[in-house]
Subunit: 525 residues, 2 copies
């Protein structure tokens, strides 16, 4: 370094000495000006290009580098790989799709239609029950208020016999409580019927699994809706008959909403009060609305946006078409080719099949999610001026499986939280026990939704859901270990859920389905 | 809303009225305290869960949402898809690799070894030339300084005849210039010989393309190194003979570095000055150093980090193994299966093959890049205390093809910039013309490196490189159109370069290679 400075100082001093020594013909200013006018065509190759000590960008010592480009490359490779698989599939199979529904038998159509027609009947029964209970409640309240001293009566000094009043009230209350129980049990019967009826019809009379599934799922939704309707009105009725002040309800709501973590500051107040909410119009609204939780009123939007509505409808049609195409063209051949691997229990082939299936199944699943939870629910909500469109949260960023289950299906989650988890917690049940109970109910319903339509109550769906509890216990500490920014928890979620879990389950069911139906057709021949 | 507030005010006022009207048995404080003590087991189902108007997270109206989870899913799918392809490949082919080099003939080994042995001879010739020129330059400078008045002589009044001095100087200068030219031409001959010799040997005597390529690439590197050595020393010698002040060189460097945009403030000053740099040791250092640009001295590191060096060596061995495995196990079968598609010109099959090839080829290419530009060069640099490790920049984030060509291979880029582009610019050539000339030279060399070893001078490599000029012209506005953050430019870069360009070229060459060798073996039978 010192040598460098030395040579620099020599370089600076020597030309000045030289110009000083030249004959005085040239003025000083010119000599100074001459210096920068270097002939650039000479000595240009001597330019120093290696000028400093610096690490390579990929070295540990280098400053942090962006690898965004590699993410882009990855996405392009994924895209390219799948375009290739589409071409490969086309070269191998041509076009496989047929007209949707052409493979469905006439009997299937009839029974499916019948099951769906039953649904409004179930609603009418629930409403009739409620209307009857309402009438009784008004009566009770009236008679009960007559036994209790009125403010006006007190002022006039017209006291009834307190002992007599207490007896009358007690008798009335006991009678009302009995009726409350009866109404409750009748509601339970009505709700259970709509869960059992489609399951039985499906199991015995509908062959096509997708047709059957539409019946069972509709039954389940109906079951949840009617349960919520009955429970909410049961509580309202009790408050109405026994004349509980409204802020007690408000207080319960506040306590609950603290656990639910409602975002708005004020607790939402219903616009309609019991018994005014027991109308056919109010019930029909709830029946159609994209929610499983009954409320006398919901936050309402002011306008119906036509373009928004039609965009969602277009999305539904497009996504349904895509899902149908993906199922027929990609999922079915892969599933068909997996049967042999299952038969031989060839591990490498099985893994290969599951991985081949994973891309198709994850895309179908994402389309299904988008169609139902975004397009359908938003279209329906827009049509009904239903304000709260939180049908899901950003579950795709879930760092553990619990977050996923809490965010992907909010109608279901809210139902279980409102009508099962929180009531259990406030009754003193341990949160873990309450969670396990909720997961068990959910697992049973998953088994119903998959087992009955496929006519195979194998318990895989139940087991898959029950596995979520230990998986949550594993993924939660893993997420914390590396921090949410690492994406490790999210990766584990995706792997367990969409890469391995779903395609493996689809294959298991397809295998058993094929075996059963092949054996059946073989024995019939 | 007003209705809601109204009902709230009723709810607030009515209980107070009621408690006021009760018999005075209970004190006021107690009645107030009683209110919050709600029996939580009742009315719990009435909790409002839909409390506000809110859009769905995927709606346009919703606040911006993170989709990080989908990127994770994409990466996992890519990984899963390729694990699947590995299993598929294994099930189809088993293990394909053989001992490396077992397919190389004895003649190939001999000629390859011979070519590599020639390289130091070329260095020795270049050095001898330089050493001779140095001796002559010292002589010229001495005789020239004798003809020019010395500061001491001027002071003593001992003036030589100015006319005679000018004549002598002119004659000396002309003679020196002639010798400069001769040395220049001899250097050019020597450099060209090392480019031509391996190409010819390769073309006529070495069958195995990878063995042949090692010879041609070594020749090219040698050609660049010797050219740089000759050009830099030519300029230094001129400055030395004609006694140009050092800061004129410094000024040229400064002007150049303004265009090069050197990051450090000061222009780097060489530690060694001409003619002291003309030593065998100095030349050997340059010959081995990971650069194509000769400098009398380079920024030097202070310590040799053993662990760093051995890590790089381990990386080289691992990456070479992986590249060999990928080539034998994945690239070769894909290429082999593409021949039929080429023969039939089946477009769908060809696209499928190119896309199948793309993942393998991009991974091999990335490994090659890492092995050569990171591991090899860093190991070599560490061994030689070579400080400037900028062998590449973050080209993977390149938003257009120009950025890519400027950043992926800095030794090459720096060579062309220092010894071709900047000298042309400073001579008044238009930058676009200079760029086209540089790309043409580069394209010719690409053709040499690929055409001679494969014995097929088809012009694809030349055409591929020449295509970069219009591609740059297209990608630059596209990058600006959407902004660099969109990643559009980067996507186009990856598609054109690694997804389509490289695998398509590999297939073209493989096809012609197979046809040529199959035809040859067919005609010999």
């Amino acid at each position: 370094m010192s040598m460098c400075i030395l040579s620099l100082s020599i370089a600076v001093s020597s030309p000045m000495a030289e110009t000083d020594s030249l004959p005085a013909a040239l003025p000083r200013v010119e000599t100074i000006n001459r210096l920068p006018k270097v002939d650039l065509s000479a000595y240009r190759h001597t330019l120093p290009v290696h000028v400093a000590i610096a690490p390579s960008p990929l070295s540990k010592e280098a400053p942090p580098e962006s690898y965004r480009g590699f993410v882009n490359l990855g996405m392009l490779l994924l895209f390219g790989n799948n375009i290739r698989l589409i071409i490969e599939n086309y070269l191998k199979y041509g076009i496989l799709i047929s007209f949707p529904g052409s493979s469905v038998s006439k009997g299937d159509w009839t029974y499916t239609a019948l099951t769906h027609i039953i649904l409004p009947l179930n609603v009418l029964i629930a409403f009739s029950l409620e209307a009857w209970a309402r009438k009784r409640a008004i009566g009770y309240r009236k008679r009960r208020s007559e036994t209790i001293p009125q403010p006006g009566a007190v002022a006039a000094g017209d006291f009834p016999d307190p002992k007599l009043t207490l007896q009358t009230t007690k008798r009335l209350d006991a009678s009302a409580r009995l009726e409350q129980s009866i109404v409750g049990w009748l509601h339970a019967l009505n709700a259970t019927a709509i869960l059992v009826w489609p399951s039985i019809v499906t199991y015995y009379y509908i062959f096509h699994p997708f047709m059957a599934m539409s019946c069972v799922i509709a039954g389940c939704i109906q079951f949840f809706k009617m349960t919520s309707y009955a429970l909410v009105n049961h509580d309202f009725r009790a408050a109405y008959i026994f004349d509980k002040p409204r802020e007690e309800l408000g207080h319960v709501a506040k306590v609950h909403s603290d656990s639910v973590q409602v975002t708005n500051e004020e607790v939402y107040q219903y616009d309609i009060q019991y018994p005014d909410n027991i109308t056919l119009k109010n019930m029909s609204y709830f029946w159609l609305a994209p929610t499983l939780c009954y409320q006398p009123s919901y936050p309402q939007t002011k306008v119906f946006r036509k373009s928004f509505f039609f965009k969602r409808v277009l999305e539904i049609l497009t996504c349904l078409g895509m899902m149908y195409f993906l199922t027929e063209q990609y999922a079915t051949p892969t599933l068909r080719n997996s049967v042999q691997a299952f038969d031989q229990l060839a591990v490498a082939s099985l893994v290969e099949r599951v991985l081949k299936m994973s891309t198709t199944s994850v895309i179908i699943w994402l389309l299904m999610f988008y169609t139902v939870f975004h397009s359908c629910f938003n279209a329906l909500a827009e049509f009904l001026y239903f304000g709260d469109r939180h049908f899901y949260r950003s579950w795709w960023n879930a760092g553990n499986l619990q977050t996923y289950w809490k965010t992907w299906n909010l109608p279901m989650y809210t139902f279980f939280k409102r009508h099962a988890y929180l009531p259990m917690i406030t009754s003193g049940v341990h949160p873990l026990v309450a969670s396990i109970i909720v997961f068990t109910i959910s697992a049973l319903l998953h088994e119903v939704v998959i087992g009955f339509p496929t006519h195979m109550l194998l318990g895989y769906a139940f087991a898959g859901m029950m596995c979520q509890i230990p998986l949550i216990a594993i993924t939660q500490p893993l997420e914390k270990w590396r921090g949410p920014a690492s994406g490790l928890g999210n990766m584990i979620f995706w792997v367990s859920f969409t890469i391995v879990g779903q395609p493996a389950c689809a294959m298991l069911y397809y295998y058993h389905w094929t075996k059963r139906n092949m054996d059946a057709s073989a024995s019939s021949v």
